[in-house]
């Protein structure tokens, strides 16, 4: 069975600091999506990465897909309190169209 790990589980930083969260698996992904979920709401899609080695930027957020398509990272530069939330990675496994979510990283950015 595929094991999907997100790390760290919790992250608390001061406004203006940088942070990186990781998503790792022993399985190869056909694509991977990152979501952010705020309390009381459903997850909101941030980005989809498809190609091994791909890097995508969304303002202060940088997403990277590993060369072997088994891992991904999300880096936030100069974090702001509005970045607070649960960050979830959700890969599509090869030949499987359903999403499999990691446990998520809870990020708290203190003002």
């Amino acid at each position: 069975t595929q094991l999907l790990e997100q790390s760290p589980q919790f992250l608390s930083i001061q406004e203006g600091e940088n942070l990186t969260v990781y998503c790792n698996s022993s399985s190869v992904f056909s694509s991977l999506q990152w979501y952010r979920q705020e309390p009381g709401e459903g997850p909101v899609l941030l980005v989809t990465v498809v190609t091994g080695g791909e890097v995508k930027k969304l303002k202060r957020l940088t997403f990277q897909f590993g060369d072997a398509r088994k891992d991904s990272s999300l880096h936030i530069t100069a974090a702001q309190p509005g970045d607070t939330g649960l960050y979830l990675c959700a890969p599509h496994l090869v030949n499987d169209y359903k999403l499999s979510f990691g446990a998520g990283t809870t990020v708290t950015v203190r003002a």
Binding site: G42, F101, G102
Partner: protein, 114 residues
Amino acid sequence: DAGVTQSPTHLIKTRGQHVTLRCSPISGHKSVSWYQQVLGQGPQFIFQYYEKEERGRGNFPDRFSARQFPNYSSELNVNALLLGDSALYLCASSLVVGVQETQYFGPGTRLLVL
């Protein structure tokens, strides 16, 4: 434009009871998926429906069932509720079914089983 809507927003039930949760997808979306998210975890896949047919099922007992209606809305039913069924139930819709297909989530229904 209305996003994915779910009802009710909150629900309290007792063990052994039955519950029905409802979801209306984004207009034009033909696929609906259901997820269970327990506190501190990511969403776990329960079902996916496309064009009123079940296209996938996660590792959940037969107490969980769902259906999709001709207007593409969907219901999730859970029988013989257990304390462990307490969770946030999320519905997501997408245009079609496929890899890389973007799923849009509703706000969820928070179920508490006492």
